[in-house]
Protein backbone atom coordinates (compact mmCIF):
# COMPACT_ATOMS: atom_id res chain seq x y z
CA UNK A 1 0.00 0.00 0.00
CA UNK A 2 1.59 3.21 -1.14
CA UNK A 3 1.45 6.31 1.01
CA UNK A 4 1.50 8.61 -1.99
CA UNK A 5 -0.80 11.54 -1.52
CA UNK A 6 -2.77 12.17 -4.67
CA UNK A 7 -3.66 15.71 -5.75
CA UNK A 8 -7.28 14.74 -5.27
CA UNK A 9 -6.70 13.88 -1.66
CA UNK A 10 -4.84 17.07 -0.93
CA UNK A 11 -7.42 19.22 -2.65
CA UNK A 12 -10.03 18.48 -0.05
CA UNK A 13 -9.65 16.55 3.16
CA UNK A 14 -12.18 13.76 3.43
CA UNK A 15 -13.60 12.24 6.58
CA UNK A 16 -11.83 9.03 7.45
CA UNK A 17 -14.78 6.81 6.44
CA UNK A 18 -14.70 8.18 2.91
CA UNK A 19 -11.01 7.79 2.33
CA UNK A 20 -10.24 4.27 1.27
CA UNK A 21 -6.78 3.10 2.27
CA UNK A 22 -7.05 0.69 -0.59
CA UNK A 23 -9.78 0.69 -3.20
CA UNK A 24 -10.78 -2.83 -2.19
CA UNK A 25 -14.16 -3.62 -0.87
CA UNK A 26 -14.56 -6.11 1.91
CA UNK A 27 -15.59 -9.48 0.45
CA UNK A 28 -17.59 -10.38 3.55
CA UNK A 29 -19.63 -7.22 3.13
CA UNK A 30 -20.37 -8.00 -0.52
CA UNK A 31 -21.37 -11.55 0.42
CA UNK A 32 -23.69 -10.18 3.08
CA UNK A 33 -25.25 -7.86 0.50
CA UNK A 34 -25.91 -10.79 -1.83
CA UNK A 35 -27.66 -12.63 1.01
CA UNK A 36 -29.95 -9.66 1.66
CA UNK A 37 -30.69 -9.34 -2.06
CA UNK A 38 -32.21 -12.84 -2.21
CA UNK A 39 -35.94 -12.56 -2.63
CA UNK A 40 -38.07 -13.72 0.24
CA UNK A 41 -40.24 -16.51 -1.20
CA UNK A 42 -42.70 -16.49 1.72
CA UNK A 43 -46.26 -15.37 1.21
CA UNK A 44 -48.58 -13.21 3.25
CA UNK A 45 -52.36 -12.99 3.25
CA UNK A 46 -53.76 -9.83 1.71
CA UNK A 47 -57.41 -9.05 2.36
CA UNK A 48 -59.14 -6.77 -0.14
CA UNK A 49 -62.02 -4.60 1.06
CA UNK A 50 -64.10 -2.47 -1.27
CA UNK A 51 -64.92 1.09 -0.21
CA UNK A 52 -67.88 3.15 -1.44
CA UNK A 53 -69.16 2.10 -4.85
CA UNK A 54 -66.23 -0.08 -5.73
CA UNK A 55 -67.33 -3.55 -6.88
CA UNK A 56 -66.71 -6.33 -4.38
CA UNK A 57 -64.53 -9.28 -5.33
CA UNK A 58 -65.63 -12.91 -5.43
CA UNK A 59 -62.78 -13.78 -3.18
CA UNK A 60 -61.35 -11.39 -0.61
CA UNK A 61 -58.27 -13.22 0.67
CA UNK A 62 -55.23 -13.83 -1.47
CA UNK A 63 -51.80 -15.15 -0.69
CA UNK A 64 -49.26 -12.81 -2.23
CA UNK A 65 -45.49 -13.22 -2.36
CA UNK A 66 -44.01 -10.99 0.32
CA UNK A 67 -41.18 -9.68 -1.83
CA UNK A 68 -43.62 -8.22 -4.36
CA UNK A 69 -43.91 -4.47 -4.54
CA UNK A 70 -47.23 -2.87 -3.72
CA UNK A 71 -47.45 -1.92 -7.39
CA UNK A 72 -47.89 -5.63 -8.15
CA UNK A 73 -50.81 -5.77 -5.73
CA UNK A 74 -52.43 -2.83 -7.49
CA UNK A 75 -51.96 -4.51 -10.87
CA UNK A 76 -53.35 -7.79 -9.55
CA UNK A 77 -56.38 -5.99 -8.16
CA UNK A 78 -57.00 -4.15 -11.43
CA UNK A 79 -56.87 -7.44 -13.30
CA UNK A 80 -59.26 -9.16 -10.89
CA UNK A 81 -61.69 -6.27 -11.19
CA UNK A 82 -61.36 -6.23 -14.97
CA UNK A 83 -60.27 -2.60 -14.85
CA UNK A 84 -58.98 -1.05 -18.05
CA UNK A 85 -55.92 1.17 -18.17
CA UNK A 86 -57.00 4.63 -17.10
CA UNK A 87 -59.99 3.44 -15.03
CA UNK A 88 -59.61 5.13 -11.65
CA UNK A 89 -58.62 2.95 -8.72
CA UNK A 90 -57.33 4.18 -5.36
CA UNK A 91 -55.77 1.82 -2.86
CA UNK A 92 -55.23 2.29 0.85
CA UNK A 93 -53.88 0.41 3.83
CA UNK A 94 -56.09 0.25 6.94
CA UNK A 95 -58.45 2.91 5.59
CA UNK A 96 -55.70 5.41 6.29
CA UNK A 97 -53.06 6.03 3.61
CA UNK A 98 -51.80 5.08 0.16
CA UNK A 99 -48.43 3.37 0.37
CA UNK A 100 -45.65 4.16 -2.08
CA UNK A 101 -45.92 1.80 -5.07
CA UNK A 102 -42.38 0.56 -4.44
CA UNK A 103 -43.03 -0.40 -0.81
CA UNK A 104 -42.83 -4.18 -0.58
CA UNK A 105 -45.76 -6.28 0.59
CA UNK A 106 -43.44 -7.72 3.21
CA UNK A 107 -42.58 -4.33 4.72
CA UNK A 108 -46.21 -3.24 4.72
CA UNK A 109 -47.24 -6.50 6.34
CA UNK A 110 -44.61 -6.15 9.09
CA UNK A 111 -45.74 -2.64 9.94
CA UNK A 112 -49.50 -2.73 9.38
CA UNK A 113 -50.88 -6.25 9.52
CA UNK A 114 -54.17 -6.74 11.35
CA UNK A 115 -55.14 -10.20 12.61
CA UNK A 116 -52.55 -11.77 10.35
CA UNK A 117 -53.78 -9.98 7.21
CA UNK A 118 -52.66 -6.95 5.31
CA UNK A 119 -55.89 -5.07 4.69
CA UNK A 120 -56.00 -3.27 1.35
CA UNK A 121 -58.98 -1.00 0.77
CA UNK A 122 -59.84 0.01 -2.76
CA UNK A 123 -62.08 2.73 -4.08
CA UNK A 124 -63.01 4.28 -7.39
CA UNK A 125 -62.74 7.76 -5.93
CA UNK A 126 -60.04 9.37 -3.77
CA UNK A 127 -61.12 8.58 -0.24
CA UNK A 128 -58.32 9.44 2.15
CA UNK A 129 -56.14 11.27 -0.37
Amino acid sequence: MSETVTPEATARPLPSWATPDTPEINEDALKALETYKKRDPSKVVVRFKAVGNAPIMKQNFYKITASNRFQAVIQFLRKELGWKAGDPLFTYINLAFSPAPDDTVSNLFKSFCTDGHLIVNYSTTAAWG
Binding site: E8, A9, Y36, D103, N107
Partner: protein
Amino acid sequence: MSNYGTTRHHPAAAAPKDRVDYHTTLFRRLSWEGTVPLEIRVDPQELPANSDRGLECYFMQAPRVSYLPLLMPEIRRFLMDVVFDEAAAKSLKEEEWWFECDDGTLLKWHWPIGLIYDSHSILASIRPGASLSATMATPLRLILHLASPPTDKLLLSPSAESCKQAFMGQLKEADFIRWGNTKRITGLRKVDQDGLWEGIKEHNFDDYWRVASKVTPTTAPNRPQSPGPPPSSVSMHGRPPSADASGPSERDGAYNVRSVPVRVYLPDGPVIQDLVPPILEDGTPHTLSHYLSTHVPLLFPPRPPAPPPSRSNPHPQPPSVSELAYPLIQGVLTPPESEMAWLGACLAGADGWLNICVGISKK
Protein backbone atom coordinates in the same frame (compact mmCIF):
# COMPACT_ATOMS: atom_id res chain seq x y z
CA MET B 1 -25.04 8.41 25.64
CA SER B 2 -25.02 10.43 22.51
CA ASN B 3 -24.02 14.04 22.85
CA TYR B 4 -26.42 14.72 20.07
CA GLY B 5 -29.40 13.82 22.17
CA THR B 6 -28.53 16.01 25.12
CA THR B 7 -31.73 18.02 25.08
CA ARG B 8 -33.58 15.00 26.33
CA HIS B 9 -31.56 15.01 29.51
CA HIS B 10 -32.46 18.51 30.59
CA PRO B 11 -34.53 18.65 33.74
CA ALA B 12 -38.17 18.28 32.85
CA ALA B 13 -39.12 21.61 34.38
CA ALA B 14 -36.56 23.58 32.40
CA ALA B 15 -38.54 24.30 29.31
CA PRO B 16 -42.20 24.62 28.55
CA LYS B 17 -43.08 22.14 25.85
CA ASP B 18 -43.92 24.70 23.21
CA ARG B 19 -40.45 26.22 23.27
CA VAL B 20 -38.50 24.43 20.63
CA ASP B 21 -35.12 23.62 22.05
CA TYR B 22 -31.90 24.70 20.43
CA HIS B 23 -30.59 21.30 19.36
CA THR B 24 -33.79 20.16 17.74
CA THR B 25 -34.12 23.32 15.69
CA LEU B 26 -30.45 23.29 14.77
CA PHE B 27 -30.49 19.72 13.46
CA ARG B 28 -33.81 20.21 11.71
CA ARG B 29 -32.42 23.28 10.01
CA LEU B 30 -29.18 21.52 9.05
CA SER B 31 -31.19 18.68 7.49
CA TRP B 32 -33.44 21.15 5.73
CA GLU B 33 -30.65 23.32 4.33
CA GLY B 34 -28.64 20.37 3.04
CA THR B 35 -28.18 20.42 -0.72
CA VAL B 36 -26.61 18.05 -3.23
CA PRO B 37 -24.85 18.84 -6.54
CA LEU B 38 -26.54 17.61 -9.70
CA GLU B 39 -25.35 17.60 -13.29
CA ILE B 40 -28.23 17.33 -15.72
CA ARG B 41 -27.49 16.49 -19.32
CA VAL B 42 -30.01 15.99 -22.08
CA ASP B 43 -29.53 12.64 -23.81
CA PRO B 44 -27.44 13.73 -26.81
CA GLN B 45 -29.39 11.41 -29.12
CA GLU B 46 -32.62 13.09 -28.19
CA LEU B 47 -31.49 16.69 -28.52
CA PRO B 48 -33.82 18.33 -31.03
CA ALA B 49 -32.40 19.70 -34.24
CA ASN B 50 -30.88 23.18 -33.98
CA SER B 51 -30.17 22.80 -30.27
CA ASP B 52 -27.19 24.68 -28.99
CA ARG B 53 -24.85 21.75 -28.41
CA GLY B 54 -22.17 22.24 -25.84
CA LEU B 55 -24.60 23.97 -23.54
CA GLU B 56 -26.93 21.02 -22.96
CA CYS B 57 -25.57 20.47 -19.48
CA TYR B 58 -27.00 22.17 -16.42
CA PHE B 59 -25.51 22.19 -12.93
CA MET B 60 -27.47 22.89 -9.80
CA GLN B 61 -27.46 22.49 -6.03
CA ALA B 62 -30.75 20.85 -5.16
CA PRO B 63 -32.25 20.71 -1.66
CA ARG B 64 -32.10 17.23 -0.13
CA VAL B 65 -35.71 17.51 1.03
CA SER B 66 -37.01 18.40 -2.44
CA TYR B 67 -38.20 16.21 -5.31
CA LEU B 68 -37.28 15.98 -8.99
CA PRO B 69 -40.66 17.24 -10.28
CA LEU B 70 -40.09 20.42 -8.26
CA LEU B 71 -36.79 21.06 -10.06
CA MET B 72 -38.37 20.76 -13.48
CA PRO B 73 -39.43 24.42 -13.86
CA GLU B 74 -35.84 25.59 -13.34
CA ILE B 75 -34.38 22.95 -15.66
CA ARG B 76 -37.02 23.62 -18.24
CA ARG B 77 -36.39 27.37 -18.14
CA PHE B 78 -32.69 26.80 -18.76
CA LEU B 79 -33.26 24.42 -21.66
CA MET B 80 -35.89 26.59 -23.28
CA ASP B 81 -33.86 29.78 -22.91
CA VAL B 82 -30.43 28.47 -23.81
CA VAL B 83 -30.46 25.12 -25.55
CA PHE B 84 -33.59 24.48 -27.62
CA ASP B 85 -34.73 26.64 -30.46
CA GLU B 86 -38.27 27.92 -30.53
CA ALA B 87 -39.68 25.25 -32.82
CA ALA B 88 -38.24 22.45 -30.71
CA ALA B 89 -39.42 24.08 -27.51
CA LYS B 90 -42.97 24.04 -28.83
CA SER B 91 -42.94 20.41 -29.89
CA LEU B 92 -41.55 18.99 -26.64
CA LYS B 93 -43.95 17.58 -24.10
CA GLU B 94 -42.71 17.99 -20.57
CA GLU B 95 -44.94 15.18 -19.31
CA GLU B 96 -42.79 12.79 -21.36
CA TRP B 97 -39.53 13.82 -19.74
CA TRP B 98 -37.80 11.45 -17.38
CA PHE B 99 -34.46 10.99 -15.67
CA GLU B 100 -31.92 8.25 -15.66
CA CYS B 101 -28.71 8.11 -13.71
CA ASP B 102 -25.55 7.81 -15.81
CA ASP B 103 -25.27 4.18 -14.63
CA GLY B 104 -28.56 3.41 -16.37
CA THR B 105 -30.87 3.27 -13.34
CA LEU B 106 -34.19 5.04 -13.52
CA LEU B 107 -34.81 7.84 -11.07
CA LYS B 108 -38.12 7.66 -9.32
CA TRP B 109 -40.12 10.84 -9.15
CA HIS B 110 -41.26 10.32 -5.59
CA TRP B 111 -37.90 9.77 -3.84
CA PRO B 112 -36.45 12.73 -1.96
CA ILE B 113 -33.43 14.09 -3.82
CA GLY B 114 -31.11 13.53 -0.85
CA LEU B 115 -32.06 9.85 -0.81
CA ILE B 116 -31.43 9.54 -4.55
CA TYR B 117 -28.04 11.20 -4.13
CA ASP B 118 -26.91 9.11 -1.16
CA SER B 119 -28.03 5.78 -2.57
CA HIS B 120 -26.40 6.44 -5.95
CA SER B 121 -23.19 7.76 -4.41
CA ILE B 122 -22.93 4.59 -2.34
CA LEU B 123 -23.59 2.41 -5.38
CA ALA B 124 -20.93 4.25 -7.35
CA SER B 125 -18.45 3.76 -4.52
CA ILE B 126 -18.74 -0.03 -4.55
CA ARG B 127 -18.82 -0.55 -8.29
CA PRO B 128 -15.76 -2.54 -9.40
CA GLY B 129 -13.02 -0.17 -10.36
CA ALA B 130 -14.58 2.75 -8.53
CA SER B 131 -11.88 5.38 -8.22
CA LEU B 132 -11.34 7.65 -5.29
CA SER B 133 -12.91 10.50 -7.22
CA ALA B 134 -16.10 8.50 -7.67
CA THR B 135 -16.58 8.45 -3.95
CA MET B 136 -15.92 12.13 -3.46
CA ALA B 137 -18.57 14.79 -3.39
CA THR B 138 -18.97 15.02 -7.14
CA PRO B 139 -22.23 15.92 -8.83
CA LEU B 140 -24.67 13.13 -9.40
CA ARG B 141 -24.85 12.83 -13.17
CA LEU B 142 -28.39 12.66 -14.48
CA ILE B 143 -29.48 12.10 -18.04
CA LEU B 144 -32.68 13.80 -19.06
CA HIS B 145 -34.72 11.98 -21.69
CA LEU B 146 -37.28 13.92 -23.64
CA ALA B 147 -39.56 11.13 -24.84
CA SER B 148 -40.89 7.59 -24.27
CA PRO B 149 -40.95 7.41 -20.47
CA PRO B 150 -40.95 3.80 -19.15
CA THR B 151 -44.14 4.52 -17.20
CA ASP B 152 -44.45 1.08 -15.65
CA LYS B 153 -41.06 1.42 -13.98
CA LEU B 154 -41.30 5.08 -13.00
CA LEU B 155 -44.53 4.21 -11.14
CA LEU B 156 -45.76 7.80 -11.06
CA SER B 157 -46.41 10.45 -13.62
CA PRO B 158 -43.85 13.27 -13.51
CA SER B 159 -46.31 15.95 -12.46
CA ALA B 160 -45.76 17.93 -9.28
CA GLU B 161 -49.35 17.07 -8.35
CA SER B 162 -48.83 13.30 -8.34
CA CYS B 163 -45.58 13.80 -6.45
CA LYS B 164 -47.52 15.82 -3.88
CA GLN B 165 -50.06 13.01 -3.53
CA ALA B 166 -47.26 10.50 -3.00
CA PHE B 167 -45.68 12.84 -0.45
CA MET B 168 -48.94 13.15 1.47
CA GLY B 169 -49.25 9.37 1.41
CA GLN B 170 -45.79 9.04 2.94
CA LEU B 171 -46.60 11.65 5.61
CA LYS B 172 -49.71 9.70 6.57
CA GLU B 173 -47.91 6.38 6.56
CA ALA B 174 -45.30 7.89 8.90
CA ASP B 175 -48.07 9.27 11.11
CA PHE B 176 -49.73 5.83 11.22
CA ILE B 177 -46.44 4.19 12.15
CA ARG B 178 -45.93 6.64 15.01
CA TRP B 179 -49.39 6.72 16.51
CA GLY B 180 -51.48 3.95 14.98
CA ASN B 181 -53.72 6.45 13.18
CA THR B 182 -53.41 9.41 10.82
CA LYS B 183 -55.42 11.87 12.91
CA ARG B 184 -52.62 14.40 13.17
CA ILE B 185 -52.29 14.76 9.41
CA THR B 186 -55.96 14.46 8.54
CA GLY B 187 -56.72 16.93 11.35
CA LEU B 188 -54.71 19.62 9.58
CA ARG B 189 -56.71 22.16 7.66
CA LYS B 190 -56.39 21.92 3.89
CA VAL B 191 -54.44 25.17 3.82
CA ASP B 192 -51.92 23.71 6.28
CA GLN B 193 -51.60 20.43 4.38
CA ASP B 194 -50.90 22.44 1.24
CA GLY B 195 -48.54 24.65 3.25
CA LEU B 196 -46.26 21.69 3.94
CA TRP B 197 -45.84 21.06 0.23
CA GLU B 198 -45.48 24.77 -0.54
CA GLY B 199 -42.74 24.96 2.09
CA ILE B 200 -40.82 22.23 0.27
CA LYS B 201 -41.49 23.78 -3.11
CA GLU B 202 -40.17 27.16 -1.97
CA HIS B 203 -37.51 25.51 0.25
CA ASN B 204 -38.73 27.64 3.13
CA PHE B 205 -37.85 26.17 6.53
CA ASP B 206 -40.17 28.42 8.54
CA ASP B 207 -43.19 27.83 6.32
CA TYR B 208 -42.70 24.08 6.39
CA TRP B 209 -42.03 23.79 10.13
CA ARG B 210 -44.89 26.12 11.07
CA VAL B 211 -47.13 23.21 10.06
CA ALA B 212 -44.76 20.27 10.46
CA SER B 213 -44.23 21.04 14.15
CA LYS B 214 -47.89 20.10 14.70
CA VAL B 215 -47.34 16.58 13.40
CA THR B 216 -43.68 15.84 14.22
CA PRO B 217 -42.87 14.47 17.68
CA THR B 218 -41.13 16.79 20.10
CA THR B 219 -37.77 15.86 21.60
CA ALA B 220 -38.63 17.21 25.02
CA PRO B 221 -37.65 15.01 27.95
CA ASN B 222 -40.73 12.87 28.12
CA ARG B 223 -40.14 9.23 28.74
CA PRO B 224 -42.74 6.78 29.91
CA GLN B 225 -40.85 6.16 33.13
CA SER B 226 -40.06 9.79 33.85
CA PRO B 227 -42.41 11.89 35.96
CA GLY B 228 -43.04 14.26 33.07
CA PRO B 229 -43.81 17.93 33.26
CA PRO B 230 -46.64 19.33 35.35
CA PRO B 231 -49.88 18.85 33.37
CA SER B 232 -51.37 22.01 31.95
CA SER B 233 -50.10 24.31 34.65
CA VAL B 234 -47.43 25.33 32.16
CA SER B 235 -48.28 28.88 31.25
CA MET B 236 -50.49 29.22 28.22
CA HIS B 237 -49.32 32.67 27.27
CA GLY B 238 -46.39 32.86 24.97
CA ARG B 239 -47.69 29.99 22.93
CA PRO B 240 -48.29 31.09 19.38
CA PRO B 241 -51.98 31.38 18.54
CA SER B 242 -51.55 28.81 15.79
CA ALA B 243 -50.55 26.16 18.32
CA ASP B 244 -52.61 23.01 18.52
CA ALA B 245 -55.69 23.83 20.56
CA SER B 246 -55.28 20.80 22.80
CA GLY B 247 -51.74 21.91 23.53
CA PRO B 248 -48.66 19.82 23.09
CA SER B 249 -48.36 17.23 25.74
CA GLU B 250 -46.39 14.19 26.66
CA ARG B 251 -48.25 12.15 24.08
CA ASP B 252 -46.39 14.06 21.36
CA GLY B 253 -42.93 13.12 22.56
CA ALA B 254 -40.52 11.30 20.28
CA TYR B 255 -39.94 8.68 22.98
CA ASN B 256 -43.68 7.96 23.30
CA VAL B 257 -44.42 6.98 19.72
CA ARG B 258 -45.37 3.37 19.00
CA SER B 259 -42.66 3.18 16.41
CA VAL B 260 -40.26 5.47 14.56
CA PRO B 261 -40.80 5.62 10.77
CA VAL B 262 -37.50 4.24 9.45
CA ARG B 263 -36.36 2.75 6.17
CA VAL B 264 -32.95 1.21 5.60
CA TYR B 265 -31.64 1.26 2.03
CA LEU B 266 -29.05 -1.36 1.18
CA PRO B 267 -26.90 -0.68 -1.91
CA ASP B 268 -28.80 -1.98 -4.93
CA GLY B 269 -30.73 -4.16 -2.53
CA PRO B 270 -33.90 -4.35 -0.59
CA VAL B 271 -35.39 -1.61 1.53
CA ILE B 272 -35.87 -2.76 5.10
CA GLN B 273 -38.77 -1.42 7.09
CA ASP B 274 -39.97 -2.75 10.42
CA LEU B 275 -41.44 -1.48 13.65
CA VAL B 276 -38.86 0.52 15.61
CA PRO B 277 -39.98 1.10 19.19
CA PRO B 278 -38.22 4.16 20.65
CA ILE B 279 -37.57 2.39 23.95
CA LEU B 280 -36.41 -1.21 24.20
CA GLU B 281 -37.99 -3.73 26.54
CA ASP B 282 -35.25 -3.18 29.11
CA GLY B 283 -36.22 0.50 29.28
CA THR B 284 -33.17 1.82 27.46
CA PRO B 285 -33.45 3.97 24.33
CA HIS B 286 -33.32 2.10 21.03
CA THR B 287 -30.00 3.10 19.47
CA LEU B 288 -28.94 3.07 15.84
CA SER B 289 -26.35 0.38 16.50
CA HIS B 290 -28.95 -1.85 18.19
CA TYR B 291 -31.33 -1.38 15.31
CA LEU B 292 -28.75 -2.14 12.63
CA SER B 293 -27.29 -5.14 14.44
CA THR B 294 -30.75 -6.69 14.86
CA HIS B 295 -32.01 -5.93 11.33
CA VAL B 296 -28.86 -6.10 9.22
CA PRO B 297 -26.67 -8.35 11.40
CA LEU B 298 -24.46 -9.57 8.55
CA LEU B 299 -23.30 -6.02 7.85
CA PHE B 300 -23.50 -4.72 11.43
CA PRO B 301 -22.54 -7.69 13.61
CA PRO B 302 -23.26 -7.12 17.30
CA ARG B 303 -20.13 -5.77 18.99
CA PRO B 304 -18.51 -7.87 21.66
CA PRO B 305 -18.92 -6.38 25.13
CA ALA B 306 -16.16 -4.38 26.80
CA PRO B 307 -14.00 -6.27 29.31
CA PRO B 308 -14.81 -5.55 32.95
CA PRO B 309 -13.16 -2.40 34.33
CA SER B 310 -9.96 -2.89 36.25
CA ARG B 311 -7.61 -0.63 38.21
CA SER B 312 -5.25 -0.27 35.27
CA ASN B 313 -8.11 0.24 32.81
CA PRO B 314 -11.05 1.84 34.59
CA HIS B 315 -12.91 2.66 31.35
CA PRO B 316 -12.37 -0.31 29.05
CA GLN B 317 -13.42 -0.04 25.43
CA PRO B 318 -14.94 -2.99 23.61
CA PRO B 319 -12.43 -4.76 21.36
CA SER B 320 -12.33 -3.14 17.96
CA VAL B 321 -13.86 -5.09 15.10
CA SER B 322 -13.33 -4.43 11.43
CA GLU B 323 -16.19 -2.37 10.14
CA LEU B 324 -18.08 -3.82 7.18
CA ALA B 325 -20.58 -1.06 6.61
CA TYR B 326 -21.56 2.41 7.73
CA PRO B 327 -24.90 4.26 8.07
CA LEU B 328 -25.52 7.58 6.32
CA ILE B 329 -28.47 9.74 7.35
CA GLN B 330 -29.01 12.94 5.33
CA GLY B 331 -25.57 12.26 3.88
CA VAL B 332 -23.98 12.31 7.33
CA LEU B 333 -22.11 9.43 8.91
CA THR B 334 -24.19 8.81 12.00
CA PRO B 335 -22.77 7.79 15.40
CA PRO B 336 -23.92 4.28 16.38
CA GLU B 337 -25.09 5.43 19.81
CA SER B 338 -27.62 7.87 18.30
CA GLU B 339 -31.11 7.19 19.57
CA MET B 340 -33.70 6.23 16.95
CA ALA B 341 -36.41 8.42 18.51
CA TRP B 342 -34.19 11.48 18.41
CA LEU B 343 -33.06 10.73 14.84
CA GLY B 344 -36.69 10.36 13.79
CA ALA B 345 -37.63 13.72 15.27
CA CYS B 346 -34.60 15.70 14.06
CA LEU B 347 -33.07 14.07 10.97
CA ALA B 348 -36.13 12.69 9.19
CA GLY B 349 -36.92 13.92 5.70
CA ALA B 350 -39.77 16.31 4.98
CA ASP B 351 -42.09 13.31 4.57
CA GLY B 352 -41.44 12.23 8.16
CA TRP B 353 -39.32 9.20 7.26
CA LEU B 354 -35.86 8.55 8.60
CA ASN B 355 -33.89 7.19 5.66
CA ILE B 356 -30.74 5.27 6.50
CA CYS B 357 -28.48 4.52 3.54
CA VAL B 358 -26.00 1.75 4.21
CA GLY B 359 -22.59 2.14 2.64
CA ILE B 360 -19.90 -0.52 2.38
CA SER B 361 -16.57 0.19 4.04
CA LYS B 362 -13.31 -0.20 2.20
CA LYS B 363 -10.71 -2.45 3.66
